[in-house]
Structure formats: structure tokens, C-alpha cells
């Protein structure tokens, strides 16, 4: 299982964060339940209008970061139609042996009408076909994955919108942080000084107001 900076950039999900672990779990559970050899999460990049492999399970790590155009294959079709797609490789006449996948599911991760990405499952087992029920399960997992990402993005917007404090407050906070890191003796001394300052400020505040 791997993930890339694409996750951080496009999904707003930091590596090793609780959200990343939930997404990994969803891919792992999905792949196990439908008996897939590989599972992956592709992120939608609205600027480039394509998909990028962000997480894989059971698959080659080299896929991470690879771009997939929206006008190709089942992943592109799932994104374009906003529908779960279940398919198999193409063949000419009598089916030939191939090293390619035998069956694929591609489920869009949606929040409302917004496309977040696509969740995929791939099987290389000879004659394997994913059922409509497998597709429904993947569709539901993709919905949950979409909600996880959406919640993270909302939180990030709230944190970003919160007031950061005045420059003086920021400066005090930084100084206190440095002192705290320098050891218990410095911290105790600072605490005593702060108590004295607090007493002076409190006793003079009434006079200023008067």
C-alpha cells in the first residue's frame, strides 16, 4: 500500500493521517470482499481534467502518480457518467490468453455532483467476472471515500478561515513555544515573570480605565 503527495495536493489528505488510514482501509476491504487482486484510488485533477493514481493495494507502486485521461477506459467512463462501471478486457473472436486484467470495477467518488476520484478493483484470475453486487459494494465504498475527503476539505476550510491572531499575539505565542522547548528551569522562571506581569497589568488596568 502506498500513497503519494497527490493525496496531499489533490485530496487534502496528509500521509499517515486518520483520513488516509480510512481510505486505505476502504480499498483493502473492497478488494478483499470482491476477491480482487488489486485496488486503487485515483484522484480527479480538475485543472488537468484527468485522473491520477494516488493509492494502490496489491498493485505496482510504479502506478502512483500515473495519469489516466478521462476519455479512456472504464475509469474515465465512471468519471464521465458518474456511474459504477463493471467490465472485462476486449478480445477478438475467440478469447485469447492475455496478461491483462480479467475483470475491472470502477466506481466514482462523488460528493453531490462533484467528482473527487475513482475507486477501482482489478482481478487477473482467469475467467473472473465481477458481479453487479460487487459493483454496488464498490459504489458504496466510493461514496464513503468521497465523504471522508469532503469532511477533511471542509475542516481545512474552517481552519483556514479562523483568525490567526494579531502579530503581537503570534510573537508572544512563538516566544512561549521556544521557552517551553528550552527546558523546565526556563519554563518555571518564565511562569514567575508572567505572574508578576499579570499582577502589574491587573492593578494598572483600573487606573487606565478611570
Amino acid at each position: 500500500m502506498t500513497s503519494s503527495v497527490d493525496l496531499l495536493m489533490l485530496l487534502a489528505v496528509a500521509p499517515e493521517s486518520p483520513e488516509e488510514k480510512v481510505l486505505k482501509l476502504l480499498i483493502e476491504v473492497g478488494a478483499q470482499v470482491v476477491d480482487a487482486d488489486e485496488g486503487a484510488l485515483l484522484v480527479f485533477d480538475p485543472e488537468k481534467n484527468d485522473l491520477a493514481f494516488a493509492m494502490t493495494v496489491g498493485g505496482a507502486q510504479s502506478l502512483i502518480g500515473q495519469r489516466v485521461p478521462l476519455d479512456k477506459g472504464l475509469t474515465g467512463l465512471a468519471a464521465a457518467t458518474q456511474e459504477v462501471q463493471i467490465g472485462a478486457p476486449t478480445y477478438t473472436g475467440v478469447k485469447q490468453a492475455s496478461v491483462g486484467p480479467e475483470a475491472v470495477i470502477a466506481a466514482p467518488m462523488l460528493v453531490g455532483d462533484d467528482l473527487i476520484g475513482v475507486l477501482t478493483a482489478v482481478s487477473f484470475k482467469k475467467g473472473k467476472r465481477f458481479s453487479a453486487k460487487d459493483g454496488e459494494l464498490y459504489g458504496r465504498l466510493a461514496s464513503v471515500a468521497g465523504v471522508v475527503v469532503d469532511q477533511r476539505r471542509r475542516l481545512q476550510r474552517i481552519v483556514g478561515a479562523a483568525p490567526a491572531g494579531t502579530p503581537v499575539q503570534q510573537s508572544i505565542a512563538e516566544s512561549l513555544g521556544r521557552i517551553a522547548r528550552s527546558g523546565p528551569a526556563a519554563l518555571a522562571h518564565t511562569a514567575r515573570v508572567l505572574v508578576e506581569i499579570d499582577g502589574i497589568v491587573t492593578s494598572t488596568a483600573g487606573r487606565d480605565e478611570a
Partner: protein, 260 residues
């Protein structure tokens, strides 16, 4: 008219397939069709592509026979229709492309074009966002009143809705199941989606002269469109209400074995 409906009710699909049938134009609103595929040789008579330019959808004619399929979805759908109804002539409307932002507008414009052109059957193996339903509804009503039959797919995994236009009563809505035969049908009167067709592990044409296997409501829908094309080929004056009645009768009489 009543005599014609009675005759249609008595017909079996297999008998219709052997009989003399009028050509029926079936508009396929999808990802485009590979008209060069051997399974579809001579079947696609016109092709269009819908684009969204500056918020407005434009429906533009394309060459025939050429490969206009960007995903392989429309070619699969087309091969199912032609596999059941030899009398079907397809009108290819490409509404799904790489730009996933304009699909709704492209679908609306293409549907309007297909209705105005008078195509008797319109296959929609897709669902647009519910926001488009208020604009879809009058178009589907217009088609119904003009005697045109729209066959539309239920969403594969409905979350908020079953899919539009499938939820509209003026269309024939289709869900999927696994049947022993492609010419299978079940009627589900208690459901928003009225009919169930064969849509699991369906062997279909794929662009470049190839074949593949597909599963989903998208592939049950053209099976029903194919049956409708057969029916209208034999009984051209049937109205959408009559067509639904015959389909219901067929669903009751066909030995449709659902495979779990």
C-alpha cells in the same frame, strides 16, 4: 388499432425476429458508436456529437461509417440493439466525452434533436443529474405524445434517485438482472423502474472490431430497446402506451429465468 394491439400481444419475440419488419430508427445517446465494427456494418445511418461551448450545447453532424466511440460504451449498447432487432437503424448521438462537466447539457440538446427528427425509439443507457429533471420532463412528454418511445436506464447504484429520465413515467425504465437469455423481461409494477432486462455478463461489441463482456443497467436497457424496435417494425402504428402494454404482456408470458 385495437386489432393491431391484440395481434401484437399475441406475437412472440422469436416469431417477430423471423418476420418481415419495417425499418425502425433508434437514436442512441451515449459515448458514440464504432460504426466500422463488423457487427454494426450498415447499421448506423447518421452520427452526431454534442459539445458544450460557452455553456451552450451544440449538436454537430459527424461522418458515417466512422468510429466515434470514446469509451466503448455506446458500441456495446448498439450491438445489443442490433443483435435483437435486425430492422433497427441507429442514429449515433455522442453525448459522453472527456469533458465530464457538460454531459447534462449535451444529453438535453441531443434528446431534443432526436425527438425533433422523429426517431421512433431513443435509447438512453445513462442518467443525468436530478437538476436536469425539470428540463427533461417536458421533452419526454413531447416524445410520448408524438409516439416516440424513450427507453432509459436506472442508475447502477442509486443513492439520491433512481436516475433521470428513468424516473419519469413517460419513458420505459429498465433495471438489470441476470437471465438465461438476452430476450428476457420482467415487469415490476411496485417499483419506480417498471422493467428488468438482461444486463449481467453480456457479450458485446467493442471498438476496433473486438468484443468484451459488460454488466450493468446500461446493457439491459438496449435489450428492451431492441424488443421495442422489433415491435414497432411489425406494428408501426402502436403508441408508447401500447408498447408498454405489450412489453408487460410479454414479461408475463416469457419464461424468464433469473439466475442468482
Amino acid at each position: 388499432m385495437l386489432a393491431m394491439l391484440t395481434s401484437a400481444l399475441a406475437e412472440r419475440i422469436a416469431d417477430l425476429q423471423k418476420g418481415d419488419l419495417q425499418t425502425v430508427e433508434v437514436a442512441v445517446l451515449d459515448s458514440g458508436i464504432d460504426a466500422t465494427h463488423p457487427d454494426l456494418a450498415g447499421k448506423v445511418s447518421k452520427a452526431f456529437a454534442a459539445y458544450v461551448v460557452g455553456g451552450t450545447a451544440v449538436v454537430e453532424p459527424k461522418g458515417v461509417p466512422e468510429n466515434h466511440d470514446v469509451f466503448g460504451h455506446g458500441t456495446a449498447v448498439a450491438s445489443i440493439i442490433c443483435g435483437i432487432a435486425k430492422n433497427a437503424r441507429l442514429i449515433d448521438y455522442r453525448v459522453l466525452g472527456s469533458d465530464n462537466t457538460g454531459a447534462g447539457e449535451a444529453v438535453l440538446s441531443s434528446l431534443r434533436d432526436a425527438i425533433d427528427a422523429g426517431h421512433r425509439v431513443i435509447n438512453m443507457s445513462l442518467a443525468v443529474k436530478a437538476d436536469f429533471a425539470p428540463r427533461l420532463w417536458p421533452l419526454c412528454e413531447k416524445a410520448y405524445r408524438r409516439g416516440q418511445v424513450i427507453v432509459a436506464a436506472r442508475r447502477n447504484m442509486p443513492l439520491a434517485d433512481q436516475g433521470f429520465p428513468a424516473e419519469l413515467t413517460s419513458v420505459i425504465s429498465v433495471d438489470r438482472a441476470k437471465f438465461a437469455s438476452a430476450v428476457s423481461l420482467k415487469y415490476t409494477p411496485d417499483s419506480v423502474i417498471e422493467f428488468v432486462g438482461h444486463g449481467d455478463d453480456v457479450v458485446v461489441a467493442a471498438p476496433g472490431g473486438q468484443h468484451t463482456t459488460k454488466t450493468g443497467t446500461s446493457f439491459a436497457t438496449p435489450a428492451v430497446s431492441g424488443m421495442v424496435a422489433l415491435l414497432l417494425g411489425a406494428f408501426p402504428s402502436l403508441r408508447p402506451f401500447d408498447v408498454k402494454s405489450v412489453l408487460r404482456h410479454w414479461a408475463d408470458t416469457i419464461e424468464a429465468e433469473v439466475i442468482p
